[in-house]
């Protein structure tokens, strides 16, 4: 009996030693065999097992789905609000850019329309204001866009975007519709300087339409011009219109120079000094028209 027990005990110890040494391998092998056996379970039995386990999981999964849905919807709302806010900002920026583009285009359209009207006015002028303009001798009418206005000390110059490449030469008259603007002063290949009617060096022969009194209108460096060489007994009144005479051969006849701004002052001994408001408001000008006269009226030297 004791021997049997001793043998059994030593066998146990041996088995236990094998188990300790190869525990992992034994477990691996057992699990591998179990996996093989499980993979051979008939489909029906497997489905039953699966459905049983799935039914246990249904309720907690439903709860988790509910929580997940709430969190997901909340996140979607937050993200969509953020996305909407970002898109809103982008759209506003685009809208502002488009508004600026539209106003620039509107501006350009208005300017071109004005140029077109002015060109039409110069070319097809009727005697609606008793001021027929001789256009037969105008060979070229070149519209020029004003790109800058310089006013250093007394001089008043406009820079326009047409030059010698467009056929512009010095001493060409510059007009807008039926009014005198000035004279081409300097010409470059792509731009030209226009001496304005208000420039102190500018002069033009003009005639009072009412009294038929002639005189020289000169710039003053101020918004008003002066008409000089008018006799003391001249019947010039406030509001009389003055037009060009065409005497110097530079400006055609009947271009409107301006209007008598104040009742003439009797200064000096011989001549009246009359203040003239030019017809053209330089501050509102966007474009001008430069005229090329085919035949000068008189062959006179440059007056300046």
């Amino acid at each position: 009996m004791k021997l049997k027990f001793a043998w059994w005990r030593s066998n146990q110890k041996e088995s236990f030693g094998i188990w300790k040494l190869h525990k992992r391998k034994i477990v691996l092998a057992a699990l591998f065999v179990l996996s093989l056996l499980l993979s051979n379970i008939p489909e029906k039995k497997y489905s039953t097992i699966q459905m049983t386990i799935a039914s246990v999981l249904v309720l907690p999964e439903r709860g988790a789905f509910f929580v997940g849905g709430v969190a997901s919807n909340f996140a979607k709302d937050v993200l969509s609000a953020l996305g909407a806010s970002l898109e809103n900002r982008k759209l506003k920026a685009t809208q502002r850019r488009l508004e600026i583009t539209i106003s620039r285009q509107k501006n350009e359209i208005m300017r071109l329309r004005g140029e077109l009207d002015a060109l039409k006015g110069v070319r097809n002028r009727e005697t609606t204001s008793e001021l027929p303009l001789e256009v037969a001798r105008v060979q070229l009418m070149q519209p020029g866009k004003i790109i800058s206005v310089t006013s250093a000390n007394w001089s008043r110059l406009l820079i326009v975007n047409v030059g010698s490449r467009d056929g512009i030469e010095t001493n060409m008259p510059v007009v807008w519709d039926d009014a005198v603007v000035g004279l081409v002063y300097k010409v470059g290949p792509y731009c030209s300087a226009v001496q304005l009617i208000t420039d102190p060096d500018f002069t033009i022969w003009a005639i009072d339409v009412e009294s038929r009194q002639q005189g020289i209108v000169k710039g003053n460096g101020s918004p008003l011009c002066r008409m000089t060489y008018v006799p003391l007994d001249a019947n010039v009144k406030k509001g009389d219109w003055l037009v060009s005479t065409g005497r110097a051969g530079i400006f055609p006849e009947n271009l409107v120079v301006g209007q008598v701004a104040e009742a003439p002052e009797k200064r000096g001994v011989i001549f009246l000094d009359i203040k003239i408001k030019p017809r053209v408001d330089i501050r509102r000008l966007e474009s001008v028209i430069i005229l090329k006269i085919s035949q000068p009226l008189l062959d006179l030297p440059d007056l300046r």
Binding site: L31, P60, E61
Partner: protein
Amino acid sequence: MKVHWEKFAMVLFACAVLQGSLLFYIEVESCAPDLFLMLVIFLALYADKEQALLCAWIAGLGKDISTAGRLGFYAFLFMAAAFFIIRIRDEIYKEEHFTRMFLVFFVTMGIHLVAVIYASFFFNYRLSRGFALSILLLSVYNLIATPVMISLFEKIKMVKKLKA
């Protein structure tokens, strides 16, 4: 480092519930983090070796049942992955997050490659670029989720006397 079996059972249950519900909301191209696999890797890194193998097998079985796959397939694969990790765990610095992340990445790649090859042999699937991209995406997703999940498992203290 014995396993707390009751905690393990609860975590396994939670993984089964979450894998089939909440993770749906964070899916990317039908890929979501594999909670079972991360549990297996955690236990393989820290638990007693034989118990880790058993837990991996059980977790694989859980995945088989929850995915309606062939019973025993993932059980075997997870057990093989756990065996591999157990062999190398003494050589690596397992506390480092990057080590864990890369381990998860490669194990995920390996397991799913084997699964796809198995499916192509036995179920006549054609191996395509789409499969490869899915495996890569899944591996990357698991890699990203690793620090969070492993830290969570550590906090739950499924394993007694966690070695520092």
